[in-house]
């Protein structure tokens, strides 16, 4: 009897320790994740002197003027518009092209099908910085340098491997019987895509689209390489206007970063369920 009480006592202690450990683990990563974000927001209200000399203290006076400065100096409204056009257009072009490619690979049978998929998906492993010179030559050669169109085409191409990978996973999971029934009902090849497979792949398209949108929103290197004038400048270039070769206006830059983070956070908040389900599906079916 005594033994059983002791055993159940130690069992409770183990359970309590596990629970404490679990919460410690969760809180630890919560702090690790949120602290930089909180620090970023607080720092965006400091003076540069406070930022450089008391990095972890609260500001003496909350400098809302940093946000005003961020909006006026970098011309954020215009850059916002450019980034939205580029990100939205790229998302549409990329998901359309990638879904067509993924459809052919996932739903048709032909020689070297897997090899083709592997070659396309291997593009994910190539660092984009390695492709700067060829992309610059192509964009320059086509006469679309310093245009939003040039950025859209480039971003759409760069993101094809990841989008094909994600959408292919979804398309592969659609039962073949649906397409067979459609063929019996007289659907052509293109109708099988547009009427059956494409609508059923919506979660995958949203997942791929979200990734592409966030990539376009945050991309800097190609935006800098392929544009030169204010007309085609995107947000990430605007943020750099607070730094020079030797001097940085840190706090206005942080204010601009906080403003530019808002759309990507909103995209993720509203679509995170679909992103996660898309990733899981891609992983299982890929």
């Amino acid at each position: 009897m005594k033994k059983s009480i002791n055993r159940s006592g130690s069992h409770i202690a183990i359970q309590a320790a596990a629970k404490t450990g679990k919460w410690f683990y969760i809180l630890f990563f919560l702090v690790i994740t949120f602290l930089p974000l909180v620090w970023l927001v607080i720092s965006s209200f400091k003076t540069n002197f406070e930022f450089e000399t008391q990095a972890f203290a609260l500001p003496k006076v909350w400098m809302w003027s940093n946000y005003k400065n961020a909006m006026s100096m970098a011309g954020l409204p215009r850059l916002f518009m450019n980034s939205i056009i580029v990100a939205a257009s790229t998302t549409i072009v990329n998901t359309l092209v990638a879904s067509m490619g993924a459809f052919a690979i996932a739903r048709e049978t032909f020689r070297f099908q897997n090899l083709l998929l592997n070659i396309i998906v291997a593009g994910v492993l190539i660092p984009i910085i390695a492709l700067m010179v060829p992309f610059f030559k192509l964009v320059n050669g086509f006469g679309i340098y310093d245009t939003l169109f040039g950025l859209i085409v480039t971003y759409s191409a760069i993101n094809i491997p990841i989008s094909v990978f994600l959408i292919h996973g979804f398309m592969g999971s659609i039962p073949r019987e649906l397409e067979e029934a459609a063929v019996i009902d007289g659907c052509s090849f293109s109708q099988r895509f547009s009427k059956i497979v494409f609508p059923l792949t919506k979660p995958g398209l949203v997942t791929a689209g979200t990734f592409v949108f966030i990539f376009c929103w945050n991309e800097f290197i190609y935006a800098m390489l392929l544009t030169s004038s204010e007309v085609s400048r995107t947000l990430q270039l605007g943020i750099r206007f607070f730094r020079s070769q030797f001097v940085v206006d840190y706090t206005s830059m942080l204010a601009a970063i906080v403003i530019t983070m808002i759309p990507t956070i909103l995209v993720y908040v509203f679509l995170h369920d679909r992103i996660i389900s898309g990733l899981t599906s891609g992983a299982v079916k890929g």
């Binding site: 100096m73 009427k195 206007f241 030797f246």
Partner: protein
């Protein structure tokens, strides 16, 4: 059918809306337009005067030449872009580059315009001695020397006095005694940093020490030479025993500069471009800042670091109008009065000679920089101008390892050498 229509409409919109915006931006002027991607924009201290001079040039040459500034404020990004453009043989009409071994590779082939013939005439006389020679390789001067940097030791005299130090140390042994007094008074002796692309502040400390031991020609020696090992030992000591701040390992220019601005560190190294920041944000520190050379660490005391910071260059062209425009603009930007205007406004120093009179408001601290160079026993260069960018990037990594006690000075140098090899 409905889905197809929606898809087609979306595709058309996605591709045509940006195209419409492009059509709005295109404008034919009929002039020879020169595109100038530049870093002297935004927060750069020279931005205002440079923009004014470009506008003035455009007004004076209306109907003939027009220079369009393409703003690229991020220096590392700008450099990456120029590298890609040069590699793609689409060199910009005008551009600025940092004259280091990596950038001088632009001289290879016939991608850049050669100014040697024009500089042989009166135009060449506006530059300080040796500047054109430094920009000439195999008889070709494919860039115009422009901004120069001087990076002496800055020290806060008020902090020294507070610690009971009445005179700036003359030798490195005196330096350690001063450091001990500063620490006893609760003041950190030096600002250091291992972060950023080149560990700027510490790289300059190392360069000063190496030159003080090995002289201005020290950079001709291999990096594993005992001179550099001695310099690394001194630098390591600056990272030990509280001689610098705890966040120096991994810290960037904001960290090393921030501690000096806050009056927490007594000694620091940077160029004249930092004067505006100290004057504006830490007036007490500005008032008490003095300029000096490194306390003698070897047989070559009193040296200073001076180096070409930015050269102007242009893409080679067969178009006579374009060539004329480039030459006219280069001459305009190097006119002594124009250079003086930029210098007076920004505090920056240039490879172009100009006179200042009693009526010119020269910043007192800026004047100390000029005096420091004039009084120097010799002027040498620093590590980052001697080695290519991958080696310079390794400096900070290796230094962090040494500062954390995971590498000896010899191993620190060996790590750098492995990248040189």
């Amino acid at each position: 059918m409905k889905t197809w229509k929606i898809l087609a409409l979306l595709l058309i919109l996605a591709l045509t809306v940006p195209g419409f915006l492009l059509a709005q931006s295109a404008a034919e002027t009929g002039e020879t337009v020169l595109k100038w991607p530049t870093i002297w924009v935004g927060e750069d201290s020279k931005a205002g005067e440079v923009e004014r001079l470009v506008m003035e040039f455009n007004t004076l040459n209306e109907g003939k030449y027009q220079v369009d500034i393409e703003a690229n404020p991020d220096y590392d990004g700008y450099r990456t872009k120029i590298n890609a453009q040069v590699a793609a043989n689409a060199v910009p009409d005008l551009f600025v580059f940092n004259p280091d071994p990596t950038s001088f590779s632009y001289y290879e082939g016939d991608r850049l315009m050669d100014f040697a013939d024009e500089l042989a005439g009166d135009w060449g006389k506006v530059f300080v001695g040796g500047a054109i020679g430094d920009a000439t390789i195999n008889g070709e001067t494919k860039s115009i020397p422009y901004e120069i940097g001087v990076t002496p030791i800055w020290y806060n005299e008020a902090l020294m006095v507070k610690a009971g130090v009445t005179e700036y140390p003359e030798t490195i042994d005196d330096f350690w005694k001063v450091a001990d007094k500063l620490k006893a008074a609760g003041i950190v002796p030096t600002s250091q940093m291992t972060g950023g692309t080149n560990a700027w502040t510490s790289m300059l400390w190392f360069s000063h020490i190496a030159m003080s031991i090995g002289g201005p020609k020290v950079w001709d020696k291999p990096i594993t030479d005992p001179v550099f090992e001695k310099a690394a030992e001194i630098l390591l000591k600056m990272y030990s025993d509280g001689n610098t701040t705890k966040d120096a390992v991994g810290g960037d220019a904001g960290v090393s500069g921030g501690h000096y601005l806050a009056g927490r560190t007594a000694m620091f190294i940077n160029g004249p471009w930092y004067i505006g920041r100290v004057r504006g944000e830490a007036p007490d520190v500005y008032e008490n800042t003095k300029i000096a050379s490194l306390p003698a660490a070897g047989d070559y005391p009193g040296g200073q670091i001076g180096f070409a910071l930015s050269n102007l260059a242009a893409g080679a062209t067969d178009n006579a109008a374009k060539k004329g425009g480039v030459l006219a603009f280069m001459k305009w930007m190097t006119e002594p009065e124009n250079v003086k205007a930029i210098s007076m406004d920004s505090g920056a120093m240039f490879a172009v000679k100009f006179q200042t009179g009693a009526g010119d408001a020269v910043d007192p601290l800026q004047k100390k920089f000029t005096d420091a160079v004039n009084d120097a026993s010799f002027v040498g260069t620093h590590f980052a101008t001697v080695y290519p960018s991958d080696v310079v990037a390794e400096f900070g990594q290796a230094l962090a390892k040494m500062a954390l006690g995971r590498a000896t000075p010899a191993e620190f140098l060996q790590q750098i050498k492995s990248v040189i090899d």
